[in-house]
């Protein structure tokens, strides 16, 4: 069931750099959202912005749903200025959640930037704790490390400029992890830029690991009506199909995705 709910802003705080957490009082959506689902938020006061903005649900606490967002453009700038007690129209929960983790596999969460937000509920839900790999351009883009640790996950970090953790990419951490534990039966859960997802998919396919990827696409309706957010996948029969990230996704199994360009060697 998708709801359109008017949510009060309970909090809207900066958490370093361009990152912020928006806390929304919600009955219906918070009560039913699953890990990996997202919501579609109407930007208040700016009539020139005709589209909602999609955000993963970061977590649900005390009857509130939280969104962990980065200020990148006009819409998120307005959100950043939105004060406590303001009312926001939110559609959700939208999309298909990450599936339950395989109890026989060691879960590895791979996050690029605010992708970490989409994986936090997975980390909460997994019976088994595993490793979280956090990547970003710089130390400021490494998000939620302590939160994942408090949930009992092992956290490893890579930054492209070397300002925190390994100097390199999050997939370098993944390579190292795979190399360190050759016999391990892994399951990957990833959210981040498409290049990162592709790199994770490539490793998963090479090693025969199941990998769940959460995609980011320009969205119109968020509910499957406009066909803006399509992605090409193969169905069981190997037939190429064009599906909607907002409805059949945003989570897809790596093996089903048809990559626009060859995954290459990254």
């Amino acid at each position: 069931m998708i709801y359109m709910e008017t949510c009060r802003v309970e909090d809207n705080r900066g958490v370093g750099g361009e990152y912020r957490i928006l806390v929304l009082r919600s009955e219906q959506i918070a009560g039913s959202v699953l890990p990996g689902q997202f919501v579609h938020v109407r930007i208040p006061r700016r009539n020139d912005l005709v589209l909602r903005r999609p955000f993963s649900v970061f977590r649900v606490r005390n009857g509130c749903m939280e969104i962990f967002y980065k200020v990148v453009g006009a819409g998120t700038r307005v959100l950043a200025e939105t004060r406590r007690h303001a009312a926001l129209s939110v559609l959700g929960p939208l999309g298909r959640a990450f599936p339950d983790a395989d109890p026989d596999a060691e879960p590895v969460l791979v996050a690029g930037g605010y992708g970490a937000a989409a994986l936090y509920m997975v980390a909460e839900a997994c019976r088994r704790r595993g490793t979280v790999l956090l990547g970003g351009a710089s130390a400021g883009d490494i998000l939620l490390g302590t939160e994942f640790e408090s949930l009992g996950w092992r956290v490893e970090v890579a930054t492209e400029d070397g300002s925190l953790g390994l100097k390199g990419r999050v997939t370098d951490l993944l390579d190292a992890l795979i190399a360190r534990r050759p016999g391990e039966h892994f399951e990957f859960f990833a959210c981040g830029p498409e290049g990162m997802l592709r790199a994770v998919a490539r490793r998963a396919m090479q090693k025969g690991v199941r990998a769940w990827l959460s995609f980011d696409r320009r969205m119109g309706c968020g509910v499957g009506a406009c066909l803006a957010c399509v992605l090409d996948v193969r169905d069981e029969g190997g037939r190429r199909r064009r599906v909607r990230v907002c409805r059949e996704g945003p989570v897809f199994e790596a093996g089903t995705v048809v990559w626009e360009e060859d995954p290459g060697n990254d």
């Binding site: 005709v50 696409r217 320009r218 803006a228 064009r242």
Partner: protein, 317 residues
């Protein structure tokens, strides 16, 4: 018309009558949802009671499945958006099998938007949908800026327009609405051709050809380079076209383009539209069309108007 209105008023403080008729298509109220913005029917079912809508105009259906254009397919611009979906759809057979059962039962008027790469394709889709049962009318999309073959050419070339409407008319008994291209110097002329060729109504407007560029990468913001502009930005253009069309011919006109509030819909009715369709606004407010229905009822009551006939075409100039 005014006489009927007077009669109704005399009948006392009845609820205003929102029903309307578009070239033989009866609708319980004159507010529909526009093709391409409400999917194939069930997508918004959790949020919008379809039986409270005047009608649903289904996303464009073609003979064969179509994959549409490459993403990104949508870009937001001031008070509007440009889309280059490219008429992706699963083809008429799949549509009839998978979606018509829902649509037949959804309790509202069902209009199917159709398109083809040739007149023959238009004809075959029309024939298939006429047999399907449950379809109340067809909307011929002769104006899509997003497909290379056919599309807008049918809607801008007077000769082609006459031909495609005549041939589809001969192939189906369903009421026929023609969705024209706004990219013409004289929309009235084309509306008259539709009338002569046997169409039952016209709908105006489709999106305006448009384009946006990422100035950092210097690449188009859409996979397809250009697309069609919709939303509040185009509403004043649509109002003008609807007004011109209603003055040029006797066909009922469906006003489409930038309707996001009661006032936007009222403008269309006042210049002469017999129905409106809400498109882009549904993305931001899924219940926009329903809110307009409620607002319209209040407006009519508040202004002492018994029904739509007392409102439609009452512009004082």
């Amino acid at each position: 018309m005014t006489e009927i209105g007077a009669e109704r008023r005399a009948a006392g403080r009845k609820e205003p009558d929102l029903s309307t008729d578009i070239g033989g298509i009866r609708m319980k109220n004159p507010v529909m949802v526009a093709s391409g913005t409400f999917g194939f029917g069930p997508e918004y079912a959790d949020l919008v009671e379809p039986d409270r809508l005047g009608g649903v105009i289904v996303k464009g259906i073609s003979l064969d499945p179509a994959a549409g254009n490459e993403p990104p397919r949508l870009v937001e611009v001031p008070c509007g958006l440009i889309n280059s979906i490219g008429l992706q759809n699963p083809g008429v057979e799949y549509f009839v099998r998978e979606y018509m059962p829902f649509l037949r039962d959804c309790g509202t008027t069902v209009i199917v938007n159709i398109w083809g790469r040739s007149i023959e394709e238009y004809r075959l889709v029309a024939i298939r949908l006429s047999e399907a049962g449950g379809v109340d009318g067809l909307e011929l999309n002769l104006s899509c800026p997003n497909i290379r073959e056919g599309g807008a050419a049918f809607g801008t070339d007077a000769r082609l327009l006459r031909q495609v409407v005549t041939e589809v008319r001969a192939s189906t008994d369903l009421p026929l609405i023609v969705k024209l291209s706004p990219n013409v110097p004289d929309i009235g002329e084309l509306a008259v051709i539709c009338e002569q060729a046997g169409a039952d109504a016209v709908s105006l407007i489709n999106t305006l050809p448009a384009m946006a560029v990422d100035v950092e990468t210097r690449r188009p913001r859409l996979g397809n380079i250009s697309g069609g502009l919709s939303g509040p930005a185009i509403h004043p253009v649509a109002v003008k076209m609807v007004w011109e069309a209603t003055r040029a011919c006797a066909l009922p006109v469906i006003g489409v383009g930038g309707v996001s509030s009661l006032a936007d819909a009222l403008e269309f009715f006042i210049v002469g539209a017999r129905a409106v369709a809400v498109g882009t606004a549904t993305f931001s407010n899924p219940r926009c069309a329903l809110e307009i229905v409620d607002g319209l009822r209040e407006y009519l009551a508040g202004h002492g108007l018994a029904g739509m006939d007392d409102l439609i075409g009452t512009l004082e100039t």
